[in-house]
Symmetry: C2
Subunit: 557 residues, 2 copies
Amino acid sequence: MSIDHGNIRWNGWGWTAHKDKLAEQDVLWTWLAAELGMPALLATPARPLESVAIAASRLSGAERARLVEILGADRFRDDPFERAFHARGRSYHDLIRLRAGELSVAPDAVLYPRTTEEVQALVAACAEAGIAIVPYGGGTSVVGGVSAIQGRFKSVVTLDMSVMDRIVDIDPQAMTATFEAGIYGPALEKALLAKNLTLGHHPQSFEFSTLGGWIAHRGAGQGSNRYGRAEDWLVAAKLVTPRGVLQTGGFPASATGPRLNDLVLGSEGVFGIITEATVRLHAAPAASEYYGYLFKDFASGIAAIRRAESDGVGATMLRLSDQIETKFYRAFGTLGKNLSFRDRLAQWYLDNRGFDEKACALIAGFEGETTAVADARLQFQVLAKKHGAMALGEAQGQRWKEGRFHGPYLRDPMMDRGVGVDTFETAATWSKLGALHVAVRDALEGAVRETAPRAGGRGIVGCHVSHSYIDGASLYFTCIFPRQLDGELGQWRTIKKAASDAIIKNGGTISHHHGVGEDHLPWLAAEKGSLGIDILRAVKMALDPKGIMNPGKLIPG
Amino acid sequence: MSIDHGNIRWNGWGWTAHKDKLAEQDVLWTWLAAELGMPALLATPARPLESVAIAASRLSGAERARLVEILGADRFRDDPFERAFHARGRSYHDLIRLRAGELSVAPDAVLYPRTTEEVQALVAACAEAGIAIVPYGGGTSVVGGVSAIQGRFKSVVTLDMSVMDRIVDIDPQAMTATFEAGIYGPALEKALLAKNLTLGHHPQSFEFSTLGGWIAHRGAGQGSNRYGRAEDWLVAAKLVTPRGVLQTGGFPASATGPRLNDLVLGSEGVFGIITEATVRLHAAPAASEYYGYLFKDFASGIAAIRRAESDGVGATMLRLSDQIETKFYRAFGTLGKNLSFRDRLAQWYLDNRGFDEKACALIAGFEGETTAVADARLQFQVLAKKHGAMALGEAQGQRWKEGRFHGPYLRDPMMDRGVGVDTFETAATWSKLGALHVAVRDALEGAVRETAPRAGGRGIVGCHVSHSYIDGASLYFTCIFPRQLDGELGQWRTIKKAASDAIIKNGGTISHHHGVGEDHLPWLAAEKGSLGIDILRAVKMALDPKGIMNPGKLIPG
């Protein structure tokens, strides 16, 4: 285990020691209150763990003894910190509950297996005793993927994979590596970079999420244009199911019927526990360059990205913020600063070039072999200019890269001040993207107004294109809103439903990279069809006939 | 239907009118006999259809009437030509049987639906009556994928999709297109090229295979390095199953659990019939350039391809023949010709540069936007030279491109002369590829010697790398051998078993792009595991509980 759980927050994001600099700037909060139509922000601190009651573990003495027998006493945990830490993931509504000390959902014990054989023994013991199992990687799910739901069982344990983080094999000849699934992002990349290799999978949760989690929720890193999504880089997986061990894949490509890797990808723990995985590697990039651009509006930025995909420009990332997100970032960057003469000159220049309040910022990243990076960068530069963009230079891009994992840290200080923030993401083909953007934004703004604690309350709804493909792209919305403290979960459900309904109605997928978990279940059948759900149920029945694996997630009950 | 079945061979490959020029050169056949250790070639012509007996259709009058009621009399066929034409695919052993007039396996009728609704009605009628259904696209399977096996049912019909070949929608904005699944390759590309778009899927069967077939067997075209495999370009599919219509996908990417497209891909007709599919497009390439190279040996050629993948050189195809295939092609190219002074000079030059009998030819293809093609071509050229290769120029590449679909035509004239030919293909990670190549070649050579009709008989076993990936590549073997006329199927089984056992033992997949069908079934559990097979059975049961869909294929009985 490369991270001590004691150093990360049980009811918030990331390192306990992390202090966000932005959070210390009063001017920011004053500005935010005004933007949200709130006369002032509130003080809504989280309850400390010491003051929170947690029910006694429901495991019987015999059950406890059996699990301890398999693991040893040190890797069987049922103290309040471990149970609270593993109660839920890190979604907005998870945090509402955790910060309020609402721990009615919490595992009866947390198990830390060290080997695939131990996982097999634990699964067999739980199947026999009728104990539900929640597989847990980094616990960073924002869709309720690791909520310790007992389902129809009398108790539930969380199986934390973080001790299973060994490097099994790195094969530079084959360009593949095999790891135990509990390895965290930084440890995995460190091992690969030592051999001048990389997986290149960097979701925003990178520091705290695990290889197994990336596969289980079918994730995508920020550089997926180059490095691919989990389904692109997964070569082979080992899945411990109640019916035995499933070993899938192992080939660069195959035509032997349905690829079973694709049932492990996105399985979200409901079929079994991923204990080991082989991944496809890249050479560590000799060059890694990120640049900022400014487009005159969202549509011209989208057109440029679409063209870059169609022309096969080898970008690693093309991330385009819409006008609201662009304005929000600029406000954050300049608040409390006396604008220099140069800054004001730049603003004057922009205004005169037609970059008004509709302007949209884009970060373009290029990684790889030096010549290829230079070629791709130039190709994109020419293309961006053709679409009316202005180059902002490398400093802008570098700043984005340095802060690439910092976003979630802002959520906790907002929640301390009566402000809610949630994210919603989807993907659609290019021809649906414009209407989808408007519809989801409008739905979010409407739902926030409807649920605002007082008249005039409103949200900030920004969006960016985060991942692009030859046939379409993802849209990632961030919605900041004044919390309705009298009925926070109801408010969240209203906002979530508005966004999700708008996504489905406008041809988007209900999740591009967050997963299904509990939160997206109500919309899954609309996307997969009832026969599609039957297929998932059939696979579930074949691998987990008693239904002990991660109840309440992915498969509608 | 863009091809009249009357113009293609019912017991051989391709157009009836096609005359192969090579087949007319006696010097070729004399050379081949000597290479195979045969004193002379034999005359082993195929039986004409008129002389072949085919049993009466086993459909009852009522069953026939019900199917005619759905389709009309003109799209219900049970004449001998239609039944013989659809009896089997076009594998070597299919041809042995068809050429001998062995039609004990043949459909009791051939159905030509025109709409998804008709397919639904046919599936419902057959499920009710207990009639097996064999879905049929172009019928070019070389793994027994369309054999008209009745399984445990009293009769079997073949559902030929070739009338369902409409263009449903081409969306240049989204870069996607939707077609009915029975459309043949040339018709599909013609429709796309008219809008300056392409799918770029060109298997060797391109002229006679269909979109639905490409998806059903999880195929790969010759240019898959650029255009991707079926699993890369399939966006959405409509599958008519006995339990209803499954509509999958529709997004550029998604994280909503297992991707159901991946159960349609490789489903080989056992879950249902693909009636419609949406595919991801590319801009029609502005440049399309193919070049020949000569490497000093197979290993250095493989190293160059591996490096090209690792460096991200944007090649469309890198096809490397081993020394035997290289020699064979050179022999075919020069047989019966008086070598010019220039040819002999070229040979002298090669000999003196270290290109001896171990030399291996590579064809490198580059397609796409003009600048990108120029960049990639140059990148590969530098890399090839670093690996000791000599550039042979564009004429060599162009020749390959012009003959890219001609290979299978040589099989019939060989079979007319007592010579057998079959192909075997696999894929593995780079670190296993060298040993896999040697093992399969040795196994094939051994099995041919063992089954030769007389002492001294031997095979020609050539191989090429046809598709490459960052973590490995495919190997495609062609085995030419003297036929054991007393026991041809036994001989084929011995050869097939030797190759397949060697593939599995050396870490290869049992098929890289041909599929499973009947032929690879015995090795499937070794690759997928018994739990993997259970999963396929569970999905089958969810979609086709009576088991009427394509019995005997993909799923072990």
